[in-house]
Every structure is written in structure tokens, then in C-alpha cells.
Symmetry: C2
Subunit: 334 residues, 2 copies
């Protein structure tokens, strides 16, 4: 089920660093998985890793070639194909979060069958998930919930994991989207799960654990985003969180992709998400606020966080700008 590590990061002909953000995520959050990079002519991205041939990667113990770059026009080009086929022949698995699936490419599917290698298309579930039973699980769980989509929920959870591990706490980031799955090698592609099994897939992802272990569950969507709110509620009820972190991007003028919809206040998010979370776990609390201040000046960012902290009475930080330590402190106090 899980993707075998370590990885060779395939950057292809990435026109810029942004196109290779999956590779960057692996490099940032699981550097121990990122042994080398493979670049085609014209590639403008660089992870600062050794450029390796397939043979060198094999020698270095690589198990999987991960496509760490978005493809242009939704096509897997012939230039890519040549490398991917060769990688299968050399004994590597392939992993991809592309919309167009590796398994749907006849040549890749045939070579994978012939060589006995695995094609990991992390956008589609590979597991038959159960229906959620709501039974209380041991261990602790934190879920990042947002006022909107794409406000920093994944970053918040994975950055908290790092600090917790540095402190010797037991913590596991639990990926629910394709980037997170490629970074960690495992997870649930929740947006592609069949409706009836959404909450069950999150129970499956965050099973019984040691009493002092924290699952840091990657949030998806928002209770207030009409396109994806059902996915969010399934996460809240399947995740049974003990703690919520509220995530927000203050400069957004409307919900992502929904021009007619304004963002809820952090108070609305707090009250709504907490009430819903307490259906599954009456002990759930909100521990802090994570603000994405990327579009703000340092002074504005600090002032905004201070204002929210005073207003909500919760530690409020931008985990990129300030680090997530204060959120971890709050979690440790639960």
C-alpha cells in the first residue's frame, strides 16, 4: 500500500520552482526520503540534491521514482515516458499525483506488469475503506480546519509534526491529499473517496495508537466552502479530533473559486467546527490559530496575529513566519 522509500525526485522539464512544489515538499519535510533528483534538459527547478542517473539512484538505494512536478496540458510527454519506462525496467516503482493516471498509459501499465513494478497514482484510493463506526480510538488527534480552502492547513500540520518530533513527542502527520501522500508515502486521497466511506477512510488513517501519540491530520476544504464542505465534515467526524487548529488567510476577499461567497469569521469557524467535532469527541478543544500572512508585511502580520490572539484568547501564529512552536505548546497542554 505505502510507497517504498527512499525516492528519486523526477523534476522533468519544470519551467520554474513552483511547478516542482511536490518535490519541494518532499525535500522540505522528508529530506531523508529525497536521495537525488532527475532533471531533463531545460529544467529550471533545483532541489539542491545530487543529479542522478537511474543507475546511480539504484546504487544509492532508491526504491521509487516520484514525479515531483506538474505536467503541462495534462499530457505525459514522450520525453517523460522514456525516463519512466526505463525506471520501471531498472526496478523502480513510480509514484504520481498527476490528474492523468500512470495506470491509464498503456505503455507504462504494460511495462509495470511485465517488470512486476507498482504504479502509485496517489489521486485515487487503493484501499477499500470501511464505513465509519464512530468507536472512540486511543491516542490523540489534531485536525487543522480552515475558513477556506488553501489557507495553510497542510503546512500547519506538517510543521507542527516537525517541532513535536524535535521535542521528542510522538507525532505523525496524516496526509489526506496527494501532495501530503507523496511527501509521507502514505495517506488517504480524501477528495476521491466514495461518499459513504469518507469518514471511515479517516478512521482507517488514524487508528488506535499510544495514549501520548498525536496524529496531525491534514485538513481539506472548509465547512463554509459549499463545493467541498462535506469532505471537511467527514474529516471532523472520522478524525474524532481532540484538538482543532483554526487556519485563516486574512487578505482573501472571497471563498476560493466562489466569487459570491465571503469568508466566515474565525469566531464562526471556531464555534461551528467545535460544535461539529464534539459530536464525535465531546472533549475536543480549539488550541490555536494558524494565520497565512504570506501577502502581508512583517509589521501587518505581527499586528494581525496579536489582534486575533487578544480577540480569541488563543495562541496565534504564522507557522512559516513565526514557527509553530506556540501551537505545539498548546497541543502539549491538552
Amino acid at each position: 500500500m505505502s510507497i517504498q522509500t527512499p525516492y528519486l525526485l523526477f523534476l522533468g522539464d519544470a519551467p520554474d520552482a513552483l511547478a516542482a512544489k511536490v518535490a519541494q515538499g518532499i525535500r522540505d519535510w522528508r529530506p531523508e526520503f529525497a536521495v537525488g533528483q532527475f532533471r531533463l534538459e531545460g529544467c529550471r527547478a533545483d532541489m539542491g540534491l545530487p543529479d542522478m542517473t537511474l543507475a546511480e539512484a539504484k546504487e544509492a538505494g532508491v526504491k521509487t521514482l516520484v514525479i515531483g512536478v506538474a505536467n503541462r496540458g495534462g499530457m505525459i510527454s514522450q520525453a517523460w515516458k522514456k525516463v519512466l519506462v526505463q525506471a520501471l525496467e531498472e526496478g523502480f516503482d513510480l509514484a504520481s499525483g498527476l490528474h492523468n493516471l500512470l495506470r491509464d498509459e498503456e505503455d507504462l501499465a504494460a511495462v509495470a506488469r511485465a517488470t512486476g513494478r507498482t504504479l502509485h497514482d496517489v489521486r485515487v484510493p487503493s484501499v477499500k475503506y470501511p464505513i465509519a463506526d464512530g468507536v472512540k480510538r486511543t491516542g490523540k488527534r489534531m485536525l487543522a480546519v480552515g475558513t477556506d480552502c488553501s489557507v495553510g492547513k497542510m503546512y500547519t500540520a506538517i510543521a507542527m509534526e516537525r517541532v513535536m518530533r524535535e521535542r521528542g513527542m510522538k507525532a505523525s502527520f496524516r496526509a489526506t491529499g496527494q501532495t501530503g501522500i507523496l511527501i509521507t508515502g502514505d495517506g488517504v486521497p480524501l477528495d476521491a473517496v466514495i461518499a459513504d466511506f469518507m469518514a471511515g477512510s479517516i478512521e482507517w488513517l488514524t487508528p488506535d495508537n499510544e495514549p501520548d501519540h498525536w496524529d496531525l491530520i491534514e485538513g481539506q476544504g472548509s465547512l463554509f466552502h459549499v463545493s467541498y464542505s462535506g469532505v471537511t465534515l467527514a474529516l471532523i467526524h472520522g478524525g474524532q479530533p481532540d484538538a482543532l487548529v483554526l487556519c485563516h488567510e486574512p487578505t482573501r476577499t472571497h471563498m476560493r473559486g466562489l466569487p459570491g461567497y465571503s469568508l466566515p469569521s474565525l469566531e464562526d469557524l471556531r464555534d461551528t467546527a467545535l460544535a461539529m467535532a464534539r459530536v464525535a469527541n465531546p472533549a475536543c478543544v480549539v488550541v490555536g490559530v494558524s494565520v497565512n500572512t504570506h501577502a502581508m508585511t512583517p509589521a501587518d502580520a505581527d499586528a494581525y496575529c496579536a489582534e486575533v490572539e487578544a480577540r480569541l484568547g488563543l495562541p496565534t501564529v504564522d507557522p512559516v513566519r513565526h514557527g509553530p512552536a506556540r501551537l505545539v505548546d498548546a497541543l502539549a497542554a491538552v
Copy 2:
């Protein structure tokens, strides 16, 4: 896409009336679709329709043979198969809500291909639904929301449709589960839709309509049922309801299938569902309460409804026992 009507209702070897509840639903709610019934030896269900051979059904203009009975042990028996194959050969389509799909039966699939007939497995979507865009649609929409699963949401909506049509109002029951889809010949099997497309499938199901037209949307699950709450929220946000009817079964001791979970109060349901609905439609109101008093005495049922009505200040009826007229009155006043 839609199932062609009218129907011949296949009752098979139903051991009792309950096993044929899909057929009963069609008979009750779309009698104009139910031309005849087909029973095998030993069948103990009877819809009070003419027993017809396939030839007689053909003569009577039937287009589709609908499997109106649950099968035992999850197998389509040889006794059934013989009839189903013959029906395809005679030019009928087949429609089924069984868990095991018609299309997965090699013989049925092959005969359907050879005869050019359609196998409608209504448990699985046949449409590529869009992602919800949240744009306000014309026409009006009512959604039934429940304190729990299986508390009478489908019955409430379809019973209201009948009364509204009798009054000359424009009303369409919109099915979101397999029984409702077989009854009406169309709908969205929401529990089988991919997470990202749930809300979009409901937008698709309830498109722009005349200003005085009501869609009566079949509810699913409950915001308070941790296994299925995400499906419910997608219905609320995709449906953009103008009106909610609260559905409740007062004798239930815990959430269906979740022994550790008690039911929310009607007040909790009202406040939570309304707040969520107003994200998509700020004008949404709660118009009434539908109580399933099946397990109560007439006196207890009346007393309970009166008590709820006084407490919530909303018309409160059991649509089976009292009829849904007062809920329709409330809807007409919106």
C-alpha cells in the same frame, strides 16, 4: 440517463411484503408507472397489480422491468436470471437497486450488449457530475434533514410532492437514494458519488427552474451521524435550500448503527442545519417538523407532535398519520 417508464414490477420470490418495498414505493408514489407485476412461484408479495407475462407487459407498453425486491444472500439466483435474460431479449431495459450490480453479471451484460438494452444499476452514478459552483439558482428548494438516518426524510418529501401537485403547485421530488431513484426513474445515488463531486451532483439534480417551482430534495444521513454527516452537508450546500423540514423519530435510543451516540435535540438540528444552510442561501428558513410516530400509540403521537409544535413554534405532523398538508401550507407561505 433516466429509466424509461412505464414499468413491470419484478417481485421475484419475495418472502413477504417488506422484501418488496421498492415495488411498493413505486406502486404508492408513481402508480402511473406501475403497469403490472411479475411474480415467481412462492412469491408472497402482492402490489394489487395485474400479473403479467413479459408478452403481456410488452403489449401494455412497458419499457423497463424493475427489480422491486431485495435478493437473498446478495446473489442473483438462476430463477431470477431466466426472467431477466428473457426480458432483455423481449426488448425491456432492466433497473435495479441491488448491491450486486446487474452489469457485473456476465450473462446479463452480454445479452444487454447483444440486444442493445440498458442495465440501470441505480446504486452507481451514471453521470460525470460537476464540482459545485455555488451560484444561486432560480426556483425554490426544500430539503428534509434528520436528527438521524432513516427517520422518514424520503417519505416526507415525496408525500409533500403529492399534496402540492394535488393543489396545483409545481413540485418535483428529487431522489438522492436508490429507492427514490427507482420510484421516480431519475436522481443521484449520492452515497456512491466521489467526495469532490457530492455538492455538484445536487446542483445538477436541482437546476434552475420556474420561480414558483419547488424541488423537494430527499435528505440523506444526518449532520449528527458521524458515518454519513459529510453526505448530509453536501446536500445542504449543493441543494441551497430555501426551506428545511426537520425529521425525527422520537423512540430511537441511539443513532442508527452507533450505540455510543445519542440523538441531538430538534433544537440542535434546527440551529445547526439552518446555520449551515444559510452559508449557501441566507434566506433559508425552517418551515416545520416531520415526526415518524410509527412506534407510538395514536394518543402518544398526537401528544408528542403537539408538544414539539408548542416548543419549537413550527407546524409538526407525522406525514403518514396526519398527512403532510400543514407542512405544505408552511412551504407555500415561504
